[in-house]
């Protein structure tokens, strides 16, 4: 008996999941604190959540360049996992910062909200460090279930309910595809370990062209592409993003998307590298389709929340270009872009949180008329975020796109890069429209002065600093992204 425990423990190595472990423990404590807190008092929960994220981030950063594997090859904490972990933590942290005032305004000051964000982050982290299909699936479910609840968090609001339910139904549906795909891959290769799958296909090239294996790969990627909202699996995104509480929309378009990318990249590059011909040609088409769909859907939106939501589809398309390229520049470009997008998108959403009025009102373009003169500094910050989303130098968004398209060019995907640049040009139209309203339209008569809330303001300022830093001196983050590749 003792022997058995010892054998089991030898393989455990908690260091491989330390950041998620720390965060999960904090999550439990938060649940307890919630249970004993006065209703409506959430500031301390938010604060403790931030401490939790920082602690987890600290343990993650400490593991840099010191990869740890554990749980019999089910999880690792390599640079790659750490890089993504930091992205999730930043996304969660910025979201929490902007949430406090928002929850109070909308009348749902409930501590569980933060606990759920923390747990969804744990799930995302497991996805990034999972080296076994089962671990990745486990992470995905932890992440998704938390998000279903968060999307429908405003119980009294029909739109929020609808968002939660739709996300749940379609998410469950896509999970079916995912599991089926995993089962087929397991059926062909006889293992769920990513490295072993890769070794199996490398050893028997014939298996890589086996229809069952290809079907497995395709079904499995469908599950992840759904989470990233890649066309034609994107249709849930606009409705869910619109109905969810604004900070959750910001979070969903950054953190979980990055998590699905983390898993997808690892699976494709580690296990299914021998099928690259198949998946890269599929992703080529889907990337173009997604960029076009996202951008053209965003064109007509007068509501900024919807506009940002639609455009986030397009941004996932740009990132996919890097995966198609599948070279060092392209993949590290994807990592860079995920971080850049987290900052610029959450920054822009935080401005929406400040500008919005109770019941998600005032988010139309008209609400931004004359903003540049009434709140010049905030407008400048918003402008920088928008510039970054457009991809205008010197901003993080530009550097990210630059790396990704350069990767595509390097790999010989000239047309893909050109289509990407053209799509960026289309996106100028709707981002610039916001600026036209901010600077060239008269403010409405009953313009109300926006109250600057400390949390959201810190969130915006931090995001803008990061956006500029990653735009002006991107080499620092980029070299980290390079080191993060396996």
């Amino acid at each position: 008996m003792e022997n058995l425990v010892q054998t089991a423990m030898q393989n455990v190595n908690f260091a491989a999941i330390m950041p998620s472990l720390v965060l999960a423990c904090f999550g439990m404590v938060l649940l307890l604190i919630n249970a004993f807190s006065r209703r409506g008092a959430t500031a301390h929960v938010a604060l403790i959540s931030l401490v939790a994220l920082l602690t987890s981030g600290y343990t993650a950063v400490m593991g840099w360049n010191n990869p740890q594997a554990g749980f019999a090859g089910h999880a690792v904490l390599d640079n790659y996992a750490i890089f993504f972990t930091i992205i999730f933590l930043i996304a969660a942290g910025l979201t929490i910062l902007m949430s406090d005032s928002y929850l109070k305004r909308e009348g749902y000051p409930v501590g569980e909200y933060y606990t759920l964000i923390v747990f969804s982050t744990v799930g995302a982290m497991l996805m990034a460090s999972g080296t076994d299909l089962m671990t990745i699936f486990l992470g995905l479910e932890v992440l998704s279930v938390s998000l279903y609840v968060l999307a429908g968090f405003f119980r009294g609001q029909l739109r929020s309910n609808e968002a939660g339910l739709k996300y749940f139904l379609l998410g469950a549906f896509s999970t079916g595809f995912l599991l089926y795909g995993m089962a087929l891959i397991y059926g062909v290769s006889g293992t769920t370990n990513l490295v072993d799958i890769g070794a199996f296909f490398a050893a028997s090239p014939a298996a890589a062209t086996n229809p069952v294996a290809i079907a497995g790969m395709l079904l499995m990627s469908t599950g992840f592409l759904f989470k990233i909202a890649i066309a034609p699996f994107h249709m849930w995104a606009p409705d869910v993003y619109e109905g969810s509480p604004t900070p959750i929309t910001a979070f969903m378009s950054a953190g979980p998307k990055a998590a699905a990318f983390a898993a997808l990249l690892r699976i494709f590059l580690v296990s299914l590298g021998s099928m690259e011909g198949t998946w890269s040609s599929m992703l080529w088409v889907l990337a173009v389709l997604t960029m076009i769909t996202g951008n053209f859907l965003a064109l007509n939106q007068d509501n900024l929340k919807r506009m940002l939501a639609y455009s986030s589809i397009a941004h996932a398309g740009y990132a996919l270009v890097g995966l198609v390229a599948a070279n060092e520049i392209g993949i590290s470009g994807v990592l860079f872009y995920m971080l850049a997008y987290t900052f610029m998108n959450i920054g822009a959403f935080a401005v929406l949180v400040l500008v919005g009025k109770q019941g998600e009102e005032n988010l139309t373009l008209q609400g931004f008329a004359g903003f540049g003169y009434k709140r010049p500094l905030l407008a400048v910050l918003m402008t920088i975020c928008l510039f970054s989303l457009m991809g205008i130098p010197p901003s993080a968004g530009f550097s990210g796109k630059f790396f990704i398209f350069a990767g595509a060019l390097d790999a010989g995907y000239v047309w893909l890069a050109i289509l990407g640049v053209l799509n960026s040009a289309v996106s100028l139209y709707y981002y610039l429209r916001v600026m036209v309203f901010m600077y060239f339209k008269d403010p409405e008569e009953d313009f109300e002065w926006i109250q600057l809330k400390p949390g959201a303001t810190i969130c915006i300022v931090l995001s803008v600093i990061a956006v500029l830093y990653m735009g002006i001196v991107p080499s620092g983050v980029m070299s980290l992204a390079r080191q993060a590749l396996f």
Partner: protein
């Protein structure tokens, strides 16, 4: 030796930060103005130091890397600055004029709402313009390119309560998008096509050194340069993208002088000069540039004939003069183009600031008399030369310069362009003709402006006419400096054919810029050939043209008051005719002004309203329409979404598995 080059853009940026962040608290106008002016003046001082240093230096090209920006594979992009004769001239131009104009604004913007905002934008603009000019690679230039655009929109829409102002800002914004798109696409294609040859670079020095790898005159180089040229037409207001510039005059006058005359709008010309090696490889593009430039020069001049708003005349004149610069670029007269860019900056800044001084005075008088007349309408002016002597003389000298009167600055630069357009290996007599006709009209409408504003009867409302003051020194000092430059600035480019008669006077600017342009001109056999006698003849013709233009203006707008008293006694029969001013006004109205006006209006209607606006709206409509169609796919029904997922999965699997 040149490692502190980054100080030049840094100073105005610091000024922008101070005024932008603290301006609201400072409140004191003098302090805000002093900070703004001092910031740009400091960078002028540094520019002077480096300029003088470069004059002495035998090595004329210096690249300074501030910090690394991005490195991808073999491509290394730096935050790099490039100081060579071309950029050295430009930074002198930008910092010098920006200093004068910022100083001028202290007086001109007095009492305006958001005073600090104006100065912080002005400094931000200077920063961006210096980045554009100094950038050692195309991306840094693009950062500046976008930055100057942004400041331009903000400053055009400065009086945002005025609908026309914010509309004009919007128009500039939209039109420039088209141009910037061209720039980006050109850059992308250049990067890629050079990459195909194994050179991954966007640095200007390396582009120049490797341009020959591309096929000379080939399709790809033509497309690349056309894309860049599209970018230039947007920023520099050429056909077909010129329409925003006249509207941009809605901004405060110092902005018109600095951004929409002297610096930003010349960015397109500068960009072509910067990549002259690339453009010279595409003769087709060069021809397009020359034709567009010549046509714009001529076309804008015709419109200038019929305007009554003092700033609008100057605006069309700017478009027309920019046309000359492009004409020069197109025929390979790079030096002449840059030379004209500089002299134009002097005289046009002076003209705009002078018009600002006039408007300032008129505004003051109307304000005093509680009238609501238009202070920019020349029909309300006249006889101002006695009221505003300094403004008048400075304005007059600049007008003589723009008209091409010998030994004033633009005589040398414009004549050089006309000579090249005729005699260059890439020139053509038709190009010369367009330029010459435009010169005739320029002399005419500019003197028409001078006569209507400063000479003759004062037509201002009686209640206001005695309250027009000369502007204070803070406004007139920059005018005097600029007028001096407009008068003598041409001496830096005295052509050889003249220079040899006055003791081997060197063509300083040509010698100075030779390291940049000479190689290209040799390589592609671009030269102006012709006998000295021919050159003199054509010089004489251009002077003649200028004199005829001025004479016509004088005949029509000045002659009337003096002649009567003299002639009435001698020829009573003629009296009636003379009383009616020889009916020349009416005659010209019927024969020249009205048709031209009509033509101008018609052309304006066709080009401005129908074609360009229609095009802009049309693109937006197509794009929006397809967006709308796509939106119908978002039905909101979960089962539809699920169906689309299934369909997608089935399609993908069908393609790959059963392939």
């Amino acid at each position: 030796m040149y490692d502190k080059l980054w100080l030049i853009p840094l100073f105005p940026f610091v000024g922008f930060l101070i005024n932008g962040l603290l301006g609201k608290k400072i409140k004191n106008e003098k302090v805000i103005g002093a900070i703004g002016t001092l910031a740009i003046f400091s960078s002028f001082v540094v520019s002077c130091k480096y300029f003088l240093q470069l004059l002495e230096d035998s090595n004329k090209v210096h690249e300074v890397v501030v910090t690394s920006w991005m490195s991808v594979g073999q491509l290394q992009v730096d935050w790099g600055l490039l100081l060579d004769p071309l950029s050295a001239l430009m930074i002198m131009n930008v910092t010098g004029l920006a200093t004068l104009i910022t100083f001028y604004s202290i007086g001109y913007m007095h009492g305006e709402e958001g005073y600090f905002r104006f100065f912080s934008y002005l400094n931000l603009f200077s920063f961006a313009m210096l980045m554009l000019v100094l950038g050692s690679n195309a991306l840094v230039m693009f950062v500046g390119w976008e930055g100057v655009g942004l400041c331009s929109y903000l400053l055009i829409g400065y009086y945002y309560e005025k609908k026309s102002a914010s509309d004009a800002g919007k128009k500039a914004f939209v039109v420039n998008r088209v141009g910037d798109f061209g720039f980006l696409l050109g850059l992308f294609l250049l990067f890629w096509s050079l990459g195909q040859k194994g050179v991954w670079t966007i640095r200007f020095t390396e582009i120049a050194a490797n341009a020959h790898l591309l096929e000379n005159g080939g399709l790809i180089v033509t497309i690349i340069t056309l894309c860049f040229f599209l970018g230039a037409t947007g920023k520099s207001a050429q056909i077909p993208l010129y329409t925003w510039l006249p509207d941009a005059m809605e901004g405060p006058t110092p902005v018109s002088a600095l951004i929409h005359a002297a610096t930003m709008v010349t960015a397109g010309v500068y960009m072509i000069a910067r990549m002259n090696g690339l453009f010279a490889m595409a003769p087709d593009t060069m021809m397009v540039i020359a034709i567009v430039g010549g046509a714009t020069a001529l076309f804008a001049a015709t419109i200038g004939l019929a305007q009554n708003d003092i700033k609008r005349v100057l605006a069309y004149s700017t478009v027309s003069q920019l046309g000359y610069m492009f004409l020069a670029m197109g025929v390979g007269a790079f030096t002449a183009g840059i030379f004209h860019l500089l002299t134009h900056a002097f005289f046009k800044a002076c003209l705009f600031l002078g018009s600002g001084s006039v408007i300032h005075g008129m505004h003051h008088a109307y304000h005093h008399a509680h009238l609501d007349d238009d202070p920019q309408d020349m029909r309300n002016m006249g006889g101002l030369r006695k009221k505003m002597p300094i403004t008048f003389y400075t304005f007059l000298f600049s007008t003589l310069a723009i008209s091409g009167i010998p030994f004033f600055s633009a005589f040398f630069s414009k004549d050089e362009i006309l000579w090249w357009s005729l005699s260059s290996t890439r020139g053509h007599w038709a190009l010369w003709l367009m330029g010459a006709l435009a010169a005739l009209m320029t002399a005419f409408y500019m003197f028409r402006l001078v006569f209507m504003t400063f000479f003759g009867e004062q037509k201002t409302d009686a209640r206001a006419k005695d309250h027009i003051p000369e502007s204070p020194l803070v406004i007139t000092l920059p005018l005097m400096i600029l007028a001096a430059l407009a008068t003598f600035g041409g001496l830096m480019g005295v052509p050889h054919v003249l220079g040899q008669y006055i003791g081997h006077f060197p063509n300083a600017i040509e010698n100075f810029l030779a390291p940049i342009f000479e190689h290209t001109q040799h390589l592609h056999h671009i030269e102006a050939h012709g006998a000295a006698a021919t050159e003199f003849t054509f010089m004489g013709i251009s002077v003649g043209i200028a004199v005829v233009g001025i004479g016509l203006a004088w005949l029509m707008y000045c002659k009337k008051p003096q002649l009567p008293g003299l002639i009435v006694a001698k020829f009573p029969a003629l009296h009636r005719a003379i009383y009616n001013k020889w009916y020349i006004d009416e005659f010209y109205d019927a024969m020249v002004v009205n048709p031209t006006k009509k033509l101008g209006t018609t052309l304006w209607l066709i080009f401005d309203v129908r074609l360009v606006d229609g095009l802009v709206n049309g693109v937006a409509w197509v794009v929006k329409g397809s967006g709308r169609a796509l939106r119908y796919t978002q039905t909101g029904y979960t089962h539809n979404y699920a169906m689309s997922m299934v369909a997608g999965v089935v399609a993908i699997i069908a393609i790959y598995v059963f392939n």
